[in-house]
């Protein structure tokens, strides 16, 4: 048996460490306090100050597939939860066909959790939220939304086939000016670009908050700096901080997946950093001998 060599740790040991770092917080539902994210705090403030009169609603576009699920889904969940807590009606929609199942599953989980936490309160489909489904057409569709004077006419039916005119959520909804907030979650830079460009009309632009993945943070920050984005959830860290802010605002709330996943990812990063440092320590010691 050879001596412990820090420069040649077996790769399987490394795999095991990564696996443990990620799965222990998941299995134990354990969460560390996330770091403060200023951009996410701005997003939180936007939603917190939002008020919707009858005939007004928020738009959420979930444009992510299975590949960025782990980062985008917790973001969508915390923002949706915040909106529902504030009783702001939400219309969910997607430009990306792979996101279709999440338009149903995410609101259902969030509503389920809320109804368990706040007994006696209910969030109903068609009144508090609606699933407009996947809509192909990309930026052309966005231009149509911006031009439309009657969104119920434009979208016609929801994903379940209901006539939008018959749903209470669309009562009194006119064109884009009825949309108070747009929240978009994606790992694709192109998707964000076309929303910034087309989801507005002369003299009116809804508040725009965005959830991006860790890879696209640099591009998203350009728009945050220019003021086109009013808030930004930066990867899982942004979602975790948002989740903590929710906990502070609603003390009976329990920690959710965002903070747990954030803990796991943080620990996994620390494992990688520690391994790199260890390898270098071993390398330097060996060099000296």
């Amino acid at each position: 048996m050879k001596q412990w060599d820090l420069t040649h740790i077996d790769r399987r040991v490394i795999y095991l460490l990564v696996l443990l770092a990620l799965s222990i917080p998941l299995a134990l539902e354990y969460a560390l306090k996330p770091a403060r994210m200023e951009a996410a705090e701005r997003a939180f403030a936007v939603v917190q100050d939002l008020e919707a009169k009858p005939g007004e609603l928020a738009f959420m576009s979930l444009d992510f597939g299975p590949n960025s699920l782990a980062e985008n889904k917790p973001q969508a969940e915390v923002v949706l939860e915040h909106l529902l807590r504030k009783r702001i009606p939400v219309a969910l929609y997607s430009q990306y066909y792979l996101a279709e199942p999440f338009l149903e599953s995410i609101p259902k989980t969030v509503v389920g959790r809320l109804e368990k936490e706040i007994l006696g309160h209910f969030w109903e489909y068609g009144r508090d939220w609606v699933n407009l489904g996947y809509r192909p057409g990309g930026s052309v569709m966005l231009q149509n939304i911006a031009k439309s004077a009657d969104l119920a006419e434009l979208f016609k039916t929801d994903a379940r086939g209901n006539n939008l005119r018959e749903l209470p959520i669309f009562k009194g909804v006119a064109g884009l000016e009825s949309v108070k907030l747009l929240a978009e979650f994606t790992s694709l830079v192109g998707g964000l670009d076309s929303f910034l460009q087309f989801f507005q009309k002369k003299g009116y632009r809804p508040f725009f908050i965005h959830g991006c993945t860790s890879i696209t943070i640099p591009q998203a920050f350009i728009y945050l700096d220019s003021g086109q984005l009013k808030g930004l959830l930066e990867g899982i860290a942004g979602a975790a901080w948002y989740s903590l802010l929710l906990e502070r605002a609603y003390p009976q709330r329990r920690p959710d997946a965002a903070q747990i996943i954030n803990t796991g990812l943080g620990v996994a990063h620390m494992v990688v950093i520690a391994l790199v440092l260890l390898g270098n320590v071993g390398f330097l010691i060996r060099g000296r001998n």
Binding site: R12, Y15, V18, L19, L22, S23, L26, A27, P66, N67, S68, L69, A70, E71, S105, K108, T109, G112, T213, S214, I215, I217, G235, I236, A257, I261, G264, L265, A268, H269, V272
Partner: protein, 242 residues
């Protein structure tokens, strides 16, 4: 996915179960290559090949070629009038179709040069297409590189942005310089620019590496969540026979 309703269906449970088994099979490669991985590797390739064939037919050949070619999109009314007229021009699609069949001559020893004809056409086409692609990609990038080296804001000289812009341009020039193959570097300064270019590239690669760590770990978390969540529940259901 919510709990109770989803598990009522045998097929859904089977789908979740096999998903977990497949995931573990792939992960087993981490220990070493083994028959379990090998089996699922072959299944994966088989399924992808089958899917690919039908998807080509379903998403391209059928709607874009066969439907207009056979005039299947023309509506015939009960009084035998119809909306739209058949365009015979679509018969021209038969030409690339037959020509594309020349690819199969690569299996012939004697006539394999015929396959080179169709290969040539596809190389030529991608060559011709490259011009538009190049300018549409490069010109916006070029224009957005014109950053002022000195920036004055409303509060006077903005040192931070001036430095960032200058550093951006410096990096751009150094790295571009590194890629000159044919100029002899006669002076030490020019040599240093090239070295700086290489170092700055390493910073870029390191930064990309670091930011990718998060994305890859996040994908792994998603799989672990699935294994510890849906899959564990489905497995329990199977074992307990509930």
């Amino acid at each position: 996915m919510g709990a109770a309703g989803v598990y009522s269906d045998v097929w859904t449970i089977a789908t979740i179960l096999v998903g977990g088994v497949a995931t573990l099979a792939i992960f087993s490669f981490l220990i070493k290559e083994n028959p379990f991985f090998r089996f699922f590797e072959h299944i994966y390739i088989g399924i992808a090949a089958g899917l690919g064939v039908v998807v080509t037919l379903k998403n391209f050949l059928w709607p874009k070629i066969f439907v207009p070619l056979f005039g299947l999109d023309l509506v015939r009314f009960p009084d035998s009038t119809s909306a739209g007229v058949y365009n015979r021009g679509f018969l021209l699609y038969l030409a690339p179709m037959l020509f594309g069949l020349l690819y199969y001559f690569i299996y012939s020893k004697k006539y394999s040069w015929l396959a080179k004809l169709v290969i040539g056409v596809s190389l030529g086409a991608s060559g011709g297409l490259a011009f538009q692609g190049f300018f549409n990609q490069m010109l916006p990038q070029l224009a957005s590189s014109f950053k002022p080296l000195v920036v004055y804001g409303s509060e006077g000289w903005n040192i931070g942005r001036s430095f960032s812009n200058s550093f951006f341009v410096f990096t751009l020039i150094c790295v571009m310089y590194y890629f000159f193959f044919s100029f002899r570097r006669k002076t030490a300064t020019l040599d240093k620019i090239s070295v700086a270019g290489r170092w700055l590239m390493m910073v870029c690669f390191g930064a990309y590496f670091g930011s990718t760590v998060m994305a890859r770990m996040a994908l792994l978390v998603e799989r672990l969540q699935f294994l510890l969540g849906d899959w564990r529940q489905a497995l329990l259901l199977l074992v307990l026979g509930a």
